[in-house]
Symmetry: C2
Subunit: 112 residues, 2 copies
DNA sequence: CAAATCCATAAATAACCGTTTATATGTCGT
DNA sequence: ACGACATATAAACGGTTATTTATGGATTTG
């Protein structure tokens, strides 16, 4: 069925994506941004961690494409980029030759 | 729309999933297993890396739920577990309140 | 231009993870 | 039970990444 192959370059890009998501704090940042576009200060308040730390993680997330930054006045507004997640999922599907759409839910079988 | 919240425990589990996928070698292992169920020796041949290294990564992938192991004779056959990926995607969708189905493909816009 | 605000970057340290090398566990055949 | 094969685990090392602390750059306000 799937005579699958993927270049090193593509694989590395995939891993960069996963790497950007392997931190609880980053997932929290993303969840916050999913609720509303925010600046660094907002996130600092919501997540209760230092400003440089937020900035650093935002940089990582931006480099991975999961968020975009836009300067407005002295703030920088960060915004979730759902397309990056869709692309990530699409690449996994291609790599593994499986479908990750909700059709998988037909059986309803989940782990224990 | 999404008054989203997720427990620390769930988030940590998500990160464990991403962590398990942030290595090129692991993605290669998964791709190989997507083509055919294999034992450690098979993977060693295909991927050209040492046996303990393969074993270690397989252990990580197994703990994250992406593969299952079944002992048959003196071999251990490893098998891809697509449901784990589907669950991962489902959790991201819940966390971020976005849909990751193929609808994103309507435009056909992919990476550059 | 000075003060205040918002954010990014640098340097130093600590925690984590992958890789190797060596060894142990388990299974089959004789 | 012994030797061969297949896999797992342990210990040690090295590299990478997260976190803190301190500082610099950019922008608005007066």
């Amino acid at each position: 069925m799937s005579d699958n192959w993927m270049s090193d370059k593509e694989l590395r890009r995939l891993t960069r994506g996963f790497q950007a998501l392997h931190s609880v704090l980053r997932l929290r940042i993303l969840a916050a941004l999913a609720e509303r576009e925010s600046n660094v200060r907002d996130l600092e308040d919501v997540l209760r961690v230092s400003q440089p730390l937020i900035s650093w993680h935002l940089t990582q997330l931006r480099q991975a494409g999961f968020v975009t930054a836009e300067r407005v006045g002295r703030e920088v507004r960060y915004q979730l980029q759902p397309a990056a997640f869709q692309e990530l999922v699409g690449t996994i599907e291609a790599l593994l030759g499986i479908s990750l759409s909700d059709e998988g839910e037909i059986n309803g079988t989940l782990e224990g």
